[in-house]
């Protein structure tokens, strides 16, 4: 079941370079920092303060009730690593932990890019997402299973 609220963290920077953060809880309909109401709130505080708001994040908790956890690669150290190429012809790795066995070819290592679920995922990445520098992805080159510890 989804929580009733989403935590929002707003970071501030003063002229001396010191930082602080403010944590608020909002209703769970508020899912993005660019939500109009969040923008208004930040703008109103901007008129009340002597520092700058540098970033804002909102965490949205997923509904895990129906999440499957019975695959061969259910450990988060097992990852499907996708290689995307951007508009500058640079490659970028994006990892998905605990991949389902069904997305691999018979060798159990190579991701089947023609798999419907995989194709949906890779097309979504290319349609909406980009590199950290804002460069769009133009293609997915490959996907393969790797072992990698901890966070990305």
């Amino acid at each position: 079941m989804d929580p009733e609220t989403n935590p929002c963290v707003i970071n501030y920077l003063d002229a001396d370079g010191n930082r602080c953060r403010v944590t608020l809880t909002f209703a769970n309909e508020v899912v993005t920092p660019t939500d109009v109401d969040v923008g208004v709130l930040r703008s109103f505080w901007h008129l009340c303060n002597d520092c700058e708001s540098t970033s804002c994040s909102i965490t949205q908790y997923a509904d895990t009730a129906d999440t499957p956890t019975d695959g061969s690669y259910e450990d988060t150290q097992d990852k499907a690593m996708f290689v995307f190429v951007d508009a500058n012809n640079k490659t970028h790795n994006i990892k998905v932990p605990a991949p389902k066995p069904s997305i691999f070819l018979a060798d159990k290592v190579t991701v089947d890019l023609a798999n419907a679920a995989v194709a949906l995922y890779t097309s979504l990445i290319m349609e909406w997402f980009c590199t950290e520098g804002g460069v769009v992805f133009t293609a997915v080159l490959s996907g393969r299973r790797i072992r990698a510890k901890g966070t990305d």
């Binding site: 002229a15 993005t32 109401d37 520092c51 949205q60 997923a62 999440t67 450990d75 988060t76 950290e132």
Partner: protein
Amino acid sequence: MPAEVLASRVRVDFVDANGGKAQQDYYLPGEMTDIASEALAELHLTIMDITDAAQVKQTLTLTSYDIDGVNSEGPYNTVSDKLTITAMDGSGQLHTVAMPAPREDLFLPDRETVDPDSEAWGNFKDQLFAMWKGTNGEAMTYIRAVRTQGGPKGA
């Protein structure tokens, strides 16, 4: 000048059945728009179709914000200076939020109590209490707001 927003980060945290954790960052181009929530929902669903890990949360971070520059005037211009706002949730529990570097003209002559007639404060307060919720999603009731001091990392 505010920094140009090249991309906005979406951080997805995962946990497996044994408590193992992993994390992957995705980026949306530029400053996010309303498309962000749709993109997030779609991302969540498509990842669910190819992973066995439970996705416990998705954190969407706007990496910078295009507002009109840094304010630096005033006697309380550090993030250690706070306006601490106290509120009560539906079950009677008190909550505080400490907003950094409040402007001098928000306060009464005692320099501690917020001037209830300040238009800037009134606008912020109205917006804050329209949005701020208790952990169960209930509305918060304003109690007081006073100037305090805390560490630079406090909130």
